[in-house]
């Protein structure tokens, strides 16, 4: 497993995990998927009932275009936040994964989710925060309430665990806050 930076040094605020055997890091993979008409068309065809249950009726072509636009906006915002070395806006943007947690509370190595709030986006970027660093582990189109409800979101939980374990083993003195997802 590697952890790659998204900006030139010394900016290491926004990092991404590159898993063993993968050509691309987690952010590049998300960018590839959410920018792909083929991927999104297949995804929304497979999960159209989930989308309908949460958001109502929508045409497939519109869903694909909407998801692409949301993803572009999401990534542009993330880029803007990460570019600002001085501000804590990037860290503030990520919220605790467990909704029961108060959003003002933060913990080192907390499992976090980034969410484009304004349009109630179903896009999620999952990350682990360590002090002022955000380490992106993956992301998903989340159409159900619980991450465990669907294999693709459940996989994201596993990735968070995996990366957390990877980081744990490197510093036993760090105290973690481990949060369940309900």
């Amino acid at each position: 497993m590697e952890i790659v930076r998204t900006f030139e040094l010394p900016n290491t605020k926004l990092l991404a995990v590159k898993y063993e055997g993968y050509e691309f890091d987690a952010l590049e993979i998300l960018q590839g998927q959410w920018g792909s008409t083929e991927f999104l068309r297949e995804f929304f065809t497979k999960y159209k009932k989930d989308h309908y249950a949460k958001y109502g009726s929508s045409k497939l072509n519109n869903l694909v275009q909407q998801a692409k636009e949301l993803a572009d906006d999401f990534f542009e915002l993330l880029l803007e936040l990460a570019e600002d070395v001085e501000s804590s806006a990037l860290v503030d943007f990520f919220k605790p994964l467990d909704n029961r947690e108060l959003q003002s509370e933060t913990y080192d190595l907390q499992k976090l989710k980034g969410r484009e709030e304004e349009r109630k986006s179903y896009l999620r970027i999952y990350a682990i925060r360590y002090k002022e660093k955000i380490i992106v582990t993956g992301g998903a189109i989340k159409l159900t309430d619980k991450m465990e409800d669907r294999p693709h979101t459940n996989d994201e939980l596993k990735k968070l665990e995996l990366v957390k374990s990877f980081l744990d083993t490197n510093d036993l003195d760090v105290t973690f806050s481990y949060i369940d997802v309900k």
Binding site: E2, V4, G35, T37, R41, N61, D72, L79, Y130, V174
Partner: protein
């Protein structure tokens, strides 16, 4: 600097930088035509489903590599007119239409229309022969004249 923080910094320093940032900037710069490319990709995928073809079959029919077809359906291809023309012929669909000043596009949500189907209608036709695009079926009730 804590042990873990230092460890992360060391791992990061050794790893190559992600190309994600450049890709975000590239999509932002080309946003306008990327939307059109995505629409074309969607229509190609629809046509493949209708024909029961896979991407390899389309690649063979087009005389291009499967990788090239994958680019077409990703929605990030800056298509040449020549390529679009060939895709139209191979798939038997209309992908690009140039509207003249006296034409407009209308969309109707009826059973006779496929989802998202649009048809080009003549605003003030002098004769039937002036219609540029024929409907998919023989039902002409959807022609609209101003």
């Amino acid at each position: 600097m804590s042990g873990l923080n230092q460890k992360i910094e060391e791992i990061v320093a050794k790893s190559p930088r992600s190309s994600w940032k450049e890709k975000v900037e590239w999509r932002k710069t080309h946003k306008d035509w990327l939307r059109k490319s995505s629409d074309i990709a969607f229509r190609i995928l629809d046509a493949l489903d209708e024909l029961g073809w896979n991407k390899a079959k389309l690649a063979a029919e087009m005389g291009v590599s499967p990788q090239q077809v994958s680019k077409y359906v990703k929605g990030e291809e800056n298509f040449k007119l020549e390529t679009l023309n060939k895709l139209e012929k191979v798939l038997g669909i209309e992908l690009i239409t140039v509207l003249h000043s006296d034409q407009e596009v209308k969309q109707k949500n009826t059973l006779e229309y496929r989802e998202h189907e649009v048809r080009v209608v003549q605003l003030k036709p002098k004769s039937f022969s002036q219609y540029v695009i024929e409907p998919r079926n023989s039902n002409k009730q959807y022609y609209s004249t101003a």
